[in-house]
Symmetry: C2
Subunit: 335 residues, 2 copies
């Protein structure tokens, strides 16, 4: 029997899920529902376009969907501010959850989520900002051993601003620049540090020159200290020039180790050691959702789940708070 | 009559001075002296090799040299921890001073220096980390208008560790990684921000994996907030791989404006706007010391003197202090 997947909403990267499902005959989408301004029918249409079948449609009541269909996996692409409560509802029912980032948009949401993860250690939860699903980043991860002990990381995530829906105008519904965009770069520095626990964060962000987008920050910068005296800078902006020759996002990381340096973009990775300088690029073997399915199946997987995805989420929320308060914040250990 | 230059020591970048002097027939080195472990004769030999004459030699007593030769310009390449007092002795005598960085290595030294600069506003002082003397950085400065209002900067300065004299082992004599190496990158972010006053700094540094070099930090990272909500990250390390294909230093800056982005290395500059993407490189018209001479002569010059070089020096010392204390530090306005 096929494993059952339910989907809430289609905000963000639902395409990642649908694309990977084309090659997963053992899974089936059994139900979809809308949320707030997202009509359930649109979610169903996305599924039909990708997979040629229409799952059962629930309007806005995802609880009813979960209780009646009892899926194995829940995909959360609803309003950002409802991610954490939607994930918690899945966890309570022992349903694995693959959620759009950020998994929580408030300290309270993160706290509830952490408790639910703790109470259900056998249930997998991941969010859509895993570190190793672009060729450059994947290749970097495969070559990390060549550069010795990791000491310093610099990451950047820059997006074109483009034209954005109204929910980006308000912190309550957008989550802000650091949790929505910066979380990718924060996920990279955390994983490339060897999943070393965060210790301290100082950050800053600014809404200046935001073209009337309300609360939305255009630029941010973070400095993270990890244990073992490892440090990382993160630069985040919506100021990538809207040049048609460039894609939407500018992803970059530099990883400095005791024996060499790696610089990676989404496409390729440059490895420099004492004796060599190479440009490498290898396609990651699994997409982000396929990799999450592997983690559920108990296979070797890079999906960051449990305390790792919670730490990344915590780091984004505390960076945002640090920027709001202009104070360095010590990070307590989550889980 | 030729203008007279005296030189203390030969630590650091004295070659910048000697190289530029080859094309300055209006200036002459009249005296040199040693300092601590630097013999005066070595300084004289450096001059002789570059300029084919041997100036008057004073052993260690630079005060005697200043009082007897009454130079127009003093070049300070002595022990780092004596820079500020040597500059102050020059200022008190109305002698223009071109000093190796950092101009001060302690808050007390910076304070004395600031008072002396304030009391002698007509006397020029600059330090050897001006921002626009590499092709890439110079070209960036010439194209800054194309990217609109500057909002975010990311800079990096990475050096090969190599083999270093003993004075690098001790904070008192090395000044530390941020003031000695980071100061270049801090000078870039300050000047490319449009000489916007610094507001806050948070930094971190680590002596881990320093090959027994005592106090010497191998890695550091800084986050600076400027006025106008401009932010900058700075990454500094001694971990550049000792690969013979690469030169000593890895210089890089990314400047994000409201209308475009510039990335520059020492060699070239990439300018990206909504409608173009170009790689540019133009040689700077003057060397660092020649440019300082222009500032003395009242000509148009990029040399950062007065409050600007003091602000850069202050920023390095407060970044180091922030890293020592693991606290964000508000920066008061110098001068």
């Amino acid at each position: 029997m096929k494993k059952k997947i339910c989907i809430i909403g289609n905000r963000g990267h639902l395409n990642v899920v649908l694309d990977d499902l084309k090659n997963e005959p053992g899974y089936e989408i059994t139900g979809v529902c809308g949320a707030k301004e997202i009509p359930a029918e649109k979610v169903a249409n996305d599924c039909a376009r990708a997979l040629n079948y229409i799952p059962k449609i629930f309007e806005e009541n995802y609880i009813e969907m979960l209780d009646s269909l009892k899926p194995d996996i829940l995909v959360v692409c609803g309003p950002f501010e409802e991610h954490s409560s939607m994930i918690v509802e899945g966890l309570k029912r022992k349903i694995h959850v693959f959620s759009e980032k950020p998994a929580a948009t408030s300290p309270e949401g993160l706290n509830e989520l952490t408790c639910a993860v703790k109470d259900n250690p056998e249930v997998k939860v991941a969010q859509m900002c895993g570190p190793y699903y672009e060729a450059g980043m994947w290749t970097a991860s495969k070559n990390l051993d060549a550069i010795g002990d990791i000491r310093l990381l610099n990451a950047r995530k820059a997006y074109k601003l483009g034209s954005r829906p109204d929910y980006f105008r308000n912190r309550d519904t957008s989550s802000g620049l650091i949790p929505w965009v910066g979380i990718h770069a924060i996920s990279w520095i955390y994983s490339f540090s060897g999943y070393t626990p965060f210790k301290t964060v100082f950050a800053t962000h600014s809404t200046e020159f935001n073209h009337g987008y309300g609360d939305l920050e255009m630029t941010a910068a973070c400095l993270f200290k990890f244990e073992k005296d490892i440090a990382a800078t993160v630069s985040i902006d919506y100021l990538r020039p809207e040049n048609p020759d460039f894609d939407h996002g500018d992803d970059w990381i530099r990883i400095v180790g005791t024996e060499g340096t790696i610089e990676a973009t989404s496409k390729e990775c440059q490895l420099t050691t004492r004796s060599s300088h190479e440009t490498l690029s290898e396609k990651p073997p699994y997409g982000m959702f396929a990799d999450f399915l592997r983690s559920i199946e108990g296979k070797e997987s890079n999906a960051t789940t449990g305390k790792d995805f919670l730490r990344v989420t915590q780091a984004t929320l505390l960076a945002r708070e640090s920027a709001d308060r202009s104070e360095a914040i010590e990070m307590s250990q989550i889980l």
